[in-house]
Symmetry: C2
Subunit: 81 residues, 2 copies
């Protein structure tokens, strides 16, 4: 059993209206000092076996085909301790 | 300038239909060996200043009041190197 985390974020050059809405709401709520907010997705994937190279290659393929839209999003895969 | 990441996930006892839909789609797409998937949100918050204790306390307050619904979600705050 191992947990792999896939973080999916919009590419930096893609406009993020959700993040902008949050950033604009913050001063109204009394928070200052934030220059930018970007919102993305986090997937926690529990593997039945170990997070070896083959399993991580599989997770990267899942990210490419199912979890991320690689036209506008980028993803990172990491094993969580 | 510092980047703080807030991860928001449904509490473990809350049903996650999005994660379940992904987990069920995986075998159809040829992926095996995944026992569970949970989907959550990731926020990247760029601070104008340093990520000191006061700034992190502010981010935790943002998470409580704006980013997470603490009835059904839990969050973690961390500085990203």
């Amino acid at each position: 059993m191992a947990r792999v985390v896939v973080d999916v974020m919009l590419k930096p050059e893609i406009l993020d209206p959700q993040g902008q809405a949050i950033a604009r709401a913050l001063p109204r709520l009394g928070f200052s000092g934030v220059s930018e907010v970007r919102q993305g997705k986090r997937f926690e994937i529990e593997l039945e076996g170990a997070a070896d190279e083959a399993a991580l290659a599989d997770v990267r393929k899942m990210a490419e085909t199912l979890l991320a839209n690689t036209v506008i999003e980028e993803y990172t895969v990491r094993v969580e301790g």
